[in-house]
């Protein structure tokens, strides 16, 4: 059982993966970072990210499954309790028979058998507890590795955000320039940095694609095509500065 996929280990997505489709469905920062990468910008922390990814991949995490050991302890403890009660009852029986001077041979034999069983059950319970303790020690080592992997993944996530911030800052002036070519958008809405951007997300996606240097054509969704059509007469190819493929939904409308 590994739970949900953990995307942080994955290599950085190719620019065309992020920007190959409008709307992109991702954040302005990711769009601009992808555009920057497509234009050959690299992040100052790229090597560190690669090193972290390699380190994470090299971690071998042992299984942590103590359920069988816990179940064995529970079963052994239950059996021990049951036999303790049986021994107590048989002792009472023997005492009662002695009190009335009745025959005790059979009762004593039963008691002896039960006492032997109890002794075995106690041995098994102790063995089960020791086995669980050893399993816990092994699990602790495996958890150390899982903890280290999680810390590295967190660090990788932070470095990646840092890398994106740097790339975004690198291309933000160029992004403002690209935004000026998107019809019906005032470049002033872009502000001085990505956090100040106050324009329509779609306009930002279009400008990011225009800014990017992509190898493959860009798929333009119906709404995005409509958005462009009502704002200007220029062809989407001219605005995006890339070959455009309309999505199927667009041809029908």
């Amino acid at each position: 059982m590994t739970g949900a996929p953990e995307p942080r280990d994955h290599p950085v997505p190719a620019p065309a993966t992020v920007l190959g489709r409008v709307p992109t469905g991702t954040s302005l920062r990711r769009e601009l970072a992808a555009a920057a990468r497509s234009r050959g910008y690299t992040s100052s922390v790229r090597d560190e990210c690669r090193r972290l990814r390699e380190e994470i991949e090299s971690i071998e995490v042992g299984a942590v499954d103590l359920a069988a050991a816990r179940r064995r302890v529970a079963a052994a403890s239950g059996e021990e309790e049951r036999l303790k009660e049986r021994v107590a009852a048989l002792r009472g029986d023997v005492r009662a028979r002695r009190a009335v001077e009745a025959e005790t041979e059979e009762a004593l034999a039963d008691l002896e058998t039960a006492a032997a069983e109890l002794s075995n059950a106690q041995t098994e319970r102790i063995a089960a507890e020791q086995a669980l303790e050893r399993a816990r020690e092994r699990a602790a080592a495996a958890r150390d590795e899982r903890e280290r992997r999680l810390e590295l993944r967190d660090r990788l996530g932070n470095r990646r955000r840092e890398a994106r911030r740097g790339l975004v800052a690198d291309v933000y002036p160029a992004f403002r320039g690209a935004l000026a070519a998107v019809p019906g958008v005032r470049p002033a809405t872009a502000g001085a940095s990505a956090s100040e951007y106050d324009g329509p997300p779609l306009a930002a996606s279009i400008a990011a694609v225009r800014l990017a240097d992509l190898d493959a054509p860009v798929t333009l969704g119906a709404e995005a095509a409509h958005w462009l059509a009502v704002r200007g007469a220029r062809a989407p190819e001219a605005v995006l500065d890339a070959p455009v493929v309309r999505s199927d939904a667009e041809r029908d409308t």
């Binding site: 059982m1 739970g3 949900a4 953990e6 942590v64 958890r143 899982r146 903890e147 992997r149 999680l150």
Partner: protein, 112 residues
């Protein structure tokens, strides 16, 4: 109480969501761990989280600590004296040497 510790992002997110959805049994939350009340319902939530995330979820049972029950006066007194020592740089082993305070190696060998 139940101590739940997570060891992956998915399990950590699962625990965070659990705590957000079920405020009542959550005694305290830490980054990727939480203390839950000792109720069957809290245990149900914890075991369910482990069913989903397997070895990335650790469940332990804790008990309240009472130093007046668990420790001799000599250990409590040593802790008090060491906390109030005049030379901050002295390690405990050196502090205890030649005094009536318990030897740290002996304490390490004593189970509570």
């Amino acid at each position: 109480m139940l101590l739940i510790v997570t060891y992956s992002e998915a399990a950590r997110t699962g625990l965070r969501n659990l705590c957000r959805r079920h405020e009542e049994p959550v005694v305290r939350r830490f980054g990727r761990a939480a203390l839950l009340e000792a109720t069957e319902y809290a245990a149900f939530l914890a075991v369910r989280l482990r069913e989903t995330h397997g070895g990335d979820v650790q469940i332990e049972r804790t008990e309240p600590f009472n130093e007046f029950v668990a420790l001799d006066e000599s250990v409590r007194g040593a802790a008090r004296a060491y906390a109030n020592r005049e030379t901050a740089a002295t390690p405990y082993a050196a502090f205890a040497a030649g005094t009536e305070h318990p030897d740290p190696e002996r304490l390490k060998g004593e189970e509570l």
